[in-house]
């Protein structure tokens, strides 16, 4: 007696009924799909259609296949969290992708039948994910770094009711902000420097029993995973303490680019040439002494100050920072105001190439001009200190001539921010922009390295524009200048956002749920260790460093670090890694379920493995807009091309498919793969498939990988058509009928 736990529903709405023989399709589900309970419905997403399904579920159905519209459509109606669900895309995937003509009818029907076969086959291999049993226990937030970003993170976490452990390398809290006399305003009228507010933050943190503060302390080791991190903190005494942690905010800030690398700008040649930090120091000393800022060389009165923008920044020679630190224009404006507000008679000149004060910075700029700060568009060639005076030589870009400012009592070099992001895990001996060899900050005991991966110029930023808190180390979020050069206002905003993500990671780990982008996914990779050959591919290729190795180099999965992309599954040569609802078998079964006509049928079969985030929606939308494509393709959405195991390709080819198209996201520097390197890995693996093809004496054209984008509504159908032509040219696969 058939297993009543499996049910399939064939919808004939939206023209499906008119375009294909739904009854035949239903019969296929029953006969070939071996589904005991098969129902047809003219309007399945209607309340009574849905009620019907609910009823069956109520009566014991645990696995449901719905043959109707795309898995992207009608998700509210077809929301059955208590069962394993497979969807056959008969609307966007079949009737809308095909012309409504008599000659097309037969092949369109075959498409529909196959998709139903595939859904049924998938269903048989699926399990409803039970969730990760290895749930987290702790929701404490570890904040690394006690500067304005770290302090803000700690305070915000506390306001949200979470305990905080704060580790600061220095003896005092406050970081850079504590070194400033005042900060750039972040409220109207944006007219004058304001108090940094760092004192209040320090008090809030130190007076709060809910924050454990370790100063003069560093992280000796960080192990574990979200919800169960273990931080070993080396404290002043030389001893070390362990803290259980839910998630981590890394706010380790920046170091100023070392001005001593700029001798041509007078650095090191005279005490009257300072960087912005040096000027802040002078300003605070002046305040303490109640005197105006005086000339370091002889304590003389300052009558003229020159600010040199982009000092060692936006550099094209390759010697200095190539990027712009973004905050320095406003900082120089602020510092020029230190002088103008105290004594309008002091001449202050800012020499800049582009004045970069976005947003309300424009008000601050205007205010400075109003106070008499002179702005000169020019490129500084050199600064020549001579006794107590400095001469600044520059190219005046407006007057288009070489010019000089003589007798400057002070020259301030606006040098940039260099991230304190720890070691470069891709290149352990790399030195930072200041020529220093970084020491690790997190000391992660991860297989893939001790610190966060860096994006560019040594900053640990997210690669994604839509997702600034995307991290390649789940549960660890960078905030403030360590992630991107930024000013105080941005750093505080950033820290607040990062804390939310940390809290989210800690909370979700307790529920065994995945973090972004598969938020809420309860499936997780399971490994059959007895079959494992310790080849380490999974531990090396995991984009998120989720998999460690034990002493016998067996993989150790840390589920709550995992993002469920399946790259490990794709990597595994012995196929011992799988997810309950997404496995070598769920896809393999679909591939095998397709009915392969014989080689004389002139009906090739092309397997399309499509990234579910970009390629698959693009195919859906192409069809919605009436862009048709070949009836010979059978599309299977995959979590990421990285999850594609080569066995699927060889199975397909052995099974008589005539070609395989793999559609993934752009890779390279501006990669768009949301699992970082999935599409890149797939391409690399497929290059090796060529060998396999040769051994099978098949043409290499039979496997092709494509970089596609979600906007390729016209291009994708064209790619398919073109590929169908290629197949037509090289002929049908000789493997047919052997399977």
């Amino acid at each position: 007696m058939a297993d009543l736990k499996y049910a399939a529903y064939v919808c004939s709405g939206c023209g499906i009924g008119e375009r294909i023989d739904a009854a035949q399709t239903a019969k296929i589900a029953e006969k070939e799909g071996k589904i005991a309970l098969v129902r047809q419905h003219p309007f399945l997403c209607s309340s009574d259609g849905v009620a019907l399904i609910r009823k069956d579920i109520g009566e014991g159905a645990t696995h449901v296949a719905i043959a109707a519209c795309s898995r992207r459509a009608k998700t509210e109606a077809f929301h059955f969290p208590s069962v394993a669900l497979a969807r056959a895309n008969l609307r966007e995937g079949v009737i809308w992708a095909r012309p409504d003509t008599d000659e097309a009818r037969e092949t369109t029907q075959e498409m529909a039948d196959d998709y139903v076969r595939m859904a049924c086959a998938e269903l048989k291999k699926m399990k409803l994910p039970a969730g990760n049993p290895e749930v987290g226990r702790s929701t404490r937030i570890l904040v690394v770094g006690g500067g304005i970003s770290g302090l803000t993170a700690a305070v915000e976490a506390r306001k949200t009711g979470y305990e905080v452990v704060l580790v600061e390398k220095q003896a005092q809290l406050g970081g850079w902000a504590a070194k400033l006399w005042k900060r750039v305003p972040d409220r109207e009228p944006h007219a004058a420097p304001v108090d940094t507010g760092v004192r209040e933050l320090i008090d809030a943190v130190t007076k709060d029993a809910g924050v454990k503060v370790y100063t003069n302390a560093t992280l000796a080791q960080t192990s574990g995973a979200p919800g169960r991190f273990n931080a070993t903190i080396a404290i002043e005494s030389g001893a070390s303490v362990n803290e259980e942690i839910g998630a981590i905010v890394q706010a380790t800030g920046f170091s100023l680019y070392d001005m001593n690398r700029l001798p041509e700008l007078g650095a090191g040649k005279s005490p009257n040439v300072v960087d912005q930090a040096g000027l802040e120091k002078l300003a605070r000393e002046a305040e303490a002494s109640g005197q105006p800022i005086c000339r370091p060389s002889d304590g003389g009165e300052v009558k003229s100050v020159v600010f040199v923008q982009c000092a060692g920044q936006r550099d094209e020679s390759g010697k200095h920072l190539p990027y712009c630190s973004g905050y320095c224009c406003n900082t120089s404006i602020k510092q020029a105001m230190y002088f103008k507000d105290a004594n309008p008679a002091v001449d202050t000149v800012v020499v800049y190439t582009d004045l970069r004060v976005p947003g309300n910075g424009e008000d601050f700029y205007r205010s400075a001009q109003h106070k008499g700060v002179v702005f000169t568009k020019g490129k500084v060639a050199s600064v020549e200190p001579d006794g107590n005076a400095c001469t600044v030589n520059f190219r005046d870009l407006i007057l288009d001539e070489d010019a000089r400012i003589e007798g400057a009592d002070l020259v301030v070099l606006a040098t940039g921010q260099v991230a304190n992001a720890g070691v470069d895990i891709e290149n352990a001996d790399a030195t930072d922009a200041n020529g220093a060899k970084p020491i690790s900050i997190l000391n992660l005991n991860y297989r893939q390295g001790k610190d966060l991966p860096k994006l560019s110029h040594g900053f640990a930023d997210s690669h994604f524009i839509c997702f600034p808190y995307e991290t390649r180390r789940t549960g660890i979020y960078a905030a403030g200048p360590v992630r991107r050069p930024m000013d105080i206002a941005q750093a505080m905003e950033d820290a607040t956002g990062a804390v939310l993500k940390a809290i989210q990671a800690a909370e979700n780990s307790q529920l065994g749920r995945s973090a972004h982008p598969r938020s809420g996914d309860l499936s997780f990779p399971m490994v059959r260790l007895d079959g494992c050959t310790q080849c380490k591919r999974c531990t090396v290729e995991c984009p998120f460093g989720a998999i460690d190795e034990d002493e016998k180099t067996y993989p150790v999965f840390n589920e709550s670090r995992c993002r469920r992309c399946g790259t490990c599954m794709g990597a595994c040569p012995v196929r011992v890694i799988s997810f309950e609802n997404y496995s070598v078998d769920t896809v393999g079964a679909q591939i095998k379920a397709v009915d392969i006509p014989d080689e004389f049928s002139e009906k090739p079969r092309i397997l399309v493995l499509a990234c579910e985030n970009d390629a698959y929606p693009a195919l859906d939308m192409a069809a919605m807009q009436g862009n048709h494509y070949s009836a010979f393709v059978r599309v299977i959405p995959v979590r990421c091309l990285g999850s594609v195991n080569t066995i699927w390709i060889t199975d397909a080819l052995n099974g008589g498919y005539d070609g395989v198209m793999m559609m993934g996201c752009k890779h390279g520097d501006d990669y768009q793969c949301h699992f970082v390197k999935g599409s890149a890995l797939a391409t690399e693996r497929m290059s090796k498939v060529d060998e396999t093809l040769k051994t099978m004496s098949l043409e290499t054209e039979r496997v092709a990988t494509y970089e596609v984008a979600i906007t390729d509504l016209k291009r994708l159908p064209q790619l398919i058509e073109d590929y169908a032509k290629v197949i037509d040219k090289i002929g049908m696969s000789p493997m047919k009928g052997f399977a």
Partner: protein, 427 residues
């Protein structure tokens, strides 16, 4: 009648653009109850109308797909479209929010099969292409519209066209009797993420946006380059449909200007740099872009992109705020008059098309927000005395997408701080 369950534990997010969606999703994924309010028929907002993002040149719809998937799988998030907030009273932890729900004339039976649209003949200006094209008066806002449900334009309701749509629908999804509703709901915290709107280019009289067909805005240009757009991605001239290969980009069109917007809109420089690459993508070496600027504000690693564009032979930079645009009476070519201030070079440059990098102003200016708030002189939200109302994204400042999302994430946390059940150690 629309049913909505909301309590003082609920976070109401106003605005379904990327900032609002982000704030709503982040809060929901922290286990909070969220109600997302969107004025238009679909989520996505301004970014859904962009072709590519700087500096990666990736597609906004890619991130939108992910966010929509997060949203579909979240049980804590409820979306109300065609809903407008008319009043917010109360304070931190105890707000009451008044809503006006406009009729969609299409109910949840809609399968998005498109039969109504095929049946209807009446066409309206397509707001998703800034009116550069027409669309049927029964429409799906755009290919990625969520909810994936059609809309009837009020103009055809009560006309034979409306009846046609109704007759065409097999699923009883069209309800011509729908009326406007008002709704009052509770909320513990409110996140205001109504985003931005382009500054009215017609007000920049010297550039003749209101007089010359071949002077367009940077947002209209996004639509021209987008395969989903009115030209199917072909960059052509509105006046004669000819390929526009020589394109001028004028920065600070309305921004940094006491006569218009006093602030710098932050995104325009990068947006124009990005758009020069659209020209290259479309026409290769034949394309020609000229950027007229005061300061190129490509901060942090955006500088890398600026460098890349600087190295592009097809792109020229002129340090100048153009004085005016004239039009060649015969060819309708725009001719830009001004002076390159780097060394004082006078020019009168003819182009196929001029793109004004229009400034950013809040879509709902401070004074028009139906709640007592402090806004800056440009209308961006600074704070609210009621303690549980937070601005997010471009409602709070001129921000790029990345910073908008940061801002939205931060405001989600602030909202959570207000509504969190006091089951945790108190701060």
């Amino acid at each position: 009648m629309t049913e909505v369950v909301a309590t003082s534990q609920t976070i109401v997010v106003v605005g379904g653009g990327i900032s609002g969606m982000t704030a709503a999703l982040e809060a929901a994924e922290c286990g909070r109850q969220v109600l997302l309010i969107e004025k238009t028929p679909a989520l996505g907002g301004r970014t859904a109308l962009l072709y590519r993002y700087f500096p990666k040149l990736c597609h906004p719809t890619c991130g939108l797909e992910i966010n929509l998937r997060r949203l579909k799988s979240s049980r804590n998030l409820r979306v109300l479209t065609m809903a407008e907030v008319t009043k917010i009273t109360g304070a931190r932890g105890d707000y009451s929010v008044s809503l006006k729900l406009s009729p969609r004339y299409v109910n949840e039976n809609c399968t998005a099969c498109g039969a109504c649209s095929e049946a209807v003949e009446a066409a309206i200006d397509n707001p998703y292409n800034y009116g550069l094209s027409k669309m049927k008066a029964a429409y799906l806002p755009h290919a990625m519209a969520y909810p994936q449900r059609y809309v009837l334009d009020p103009s055809i309701v009560g006309t034979p066209e409306g009846e046609k749509a109704k007759a065409a629908c097999k699923y009883g999804a069209i309800d011509l009797g729908m009326k406007q509703e008002t709704l009052e709901i509770k909320a513990g915290a409110v996140i205001w993420a109504t985003g931005w709107q382009p500054y009215d280019a017609a007000k920049i009289q010297p550039y003749g946006y209101d007089r010359y067909p071949n002077v367009i805005t940077s947002l209209e240009f996004e639509r021209l380059a987008d395969p989903h757009g009115p030209t199917g991605g072909k960059i052509t001239r509105p006046s004669d449909g000819r390929e526009a290969k020589d394109i001028a980009f004028i920065q600070c069109a309305g921004s940094r200007d006491e006569n218009h917007l006093r602030h710098c809109s932050r995104i325009c420089c990068m947006a124009s740099l990005k758009q020069t690459q659209y020209v290259r993508e479309a026409y290769g070496e034949e394309g020609k872009s000229t950027v007229y600027y005061i300061d190129i504000r490509a901060i942090d690693r955006f500088e890398d992109f600026y460098r890349k564009v600087l190295a592009d032979k097809t792109v020229r930079f002129v340090k100048s705020k153009p004085a005016r645009i004239a039009e060649d009476r015969k060819t309708l070519d725009p001719v830009i008059h001004g002076v390159d201030t780097e060394g004082y070079h006078r020019y009168a440059s003819r182009h196929d098309l001029v793109v004004l990098a229009v400034g950013m102003e809040p879509a709902v200016k401070g004074a028009d927000i139906p709640h007592e708030i402090v806004a800056d002189s440009s209308g961006f939200i600074e704070s609210a005395a009621s303690g549980g109302f937070f601005g997010a994204g471009c409602a709070s400042n001129a921000l790029d997408v990345n910073r908008s999302v940061q801002s939205a994430t931060a405001s989600a946390l602030r909202a959570i701080q207000v509504v969190r059940k006091s089951d945790r150690v108190e701060a």
